[in-house]
């Protein structure tokens, strides 16, 4: 429980999001383009961080499905900014020792003739601390 409280405060601090502002309307999840890819959806990220139930989020691949497209941020009626919560949980996960989801060694295999640098750079930034 103590650990949860610490984690919660950490996520709130990194994201600078006030999860209490959420009125649980679900518009973030309604608008999310990656909904079907995710085990936990944007509204659950907000709700679970608020209650301190964070470990399941840290363990979930959902972290790496968020596109940071910010549709949930701009459409949230309460200004909660769910994408920033996802981002904060993701950072918490990949900042751990050895938790990088992608390494520089993985990159060459990904390069195809038409792969734009932007794709690799973005993925690298998202998956690596």
């Amino acid at each position: 429980m103590e650990n949860n409280k610490y984690l919660r405060e950490e996520i709130i601090r990194i994201s600078n999001v006030n999860t209490k502002k959420c009125m649980k309307c679900g518009k973030c999840s309604a608008t999310c383009p990656m909904y079907d890819e995710m085990e936990y959806h944007p509204h659950q990220f907000v709700g679970m961080v608020e209650t301190g139930d964070i470990q399941p989020l840290l363990d979930s691949d959902s972290l790496y499905k968020c596109l940071s497209c910010f549709a949930c941020v701009d459409r949230c009626p309460r200004g909660v900014e769910p994408a920033k919560v996802v981002e904060a949980v993701r950072l918490t996960a990949i900042r751990k020792q050895g938790a990088n989801r992608m390494t520089a060694n993985d990159v060459p295999a990904m390069i195809e003739e038409d792969t734009p640098q932007q794709l690799l750079v973005s993925a690298f930034r998202k998956y690596t601390k």
Binding site: N16, K65, L67, C69
Partner: protein
Amino acid sequence: MKVSYFPGCTLKNKAKDLDMYAYRSAEALGVTLEEIDEWQCCGGVFTSSASEVATKLSSVRALKATNDKGQPLVTVCSACHNVIKQTNYAMQNNPEFAAKVNRYMAADGGYNGETEVYHYLEMLRELVGFDALKEKVVNSLKGKKIAAYYGCLLLRPNKVMRMDDPENPSIMEDLICALGAEAVVYARRNECCGAYISVESPDAAKKNALAIIENARAAGAEMIVTACPLCKYNLEKCGADFPIVYFTELLAEALGVKEDTNGKQ
């Protein structure tokens, strides 16, 4: 008019067209793009957490270099624009973050968000003007039905980007009309293409991209224009077989500068 220009990694590699046509069109419009010396990659995505500092330094360096020259900073790639504008906003509005950044950059001198950041489209709208642009059009694109694709990076978060109405943008449509073509409006023009998810889940990215193209096609579009190399890549990869074109190419075509003076494309 001279402006500082941040091309970004992709424009110097896989998206050379986007870059080249941007240069040629700007020149035709009386704007000189001065590439920033020794610019570094923006990182592709802006990390929204203020606790991330190091990843944002390349953007700050570009902003500072521009400020030292007293010019506005222009970007073409949606991702570079998003990262740099968000970084600049954080420098203006988050003193704690700005102080940290300035400690890292002590050797380079201070920076506090003074630079004005324009996307190339904003430059056309605000520094050139669509009416003035219209007068410079030599090959009108009349008869073409073109759908603008914004994606997410140009518009969101609106609090920072301030480019247009994030739900009903018109800046690219205004450009398309200024070039003489017909702008096709469709609802998915501000939905995400799938971005970097195509590395891990190409099918998910395809689903997104396909929905966007089908929506544009159903609205009567013959081609989609975009400002972002990654958007172009995802839209082309989804298997829809639909022409996706950089807006600068269209602009260069209309301004009659698509081919350089040697007749080379």
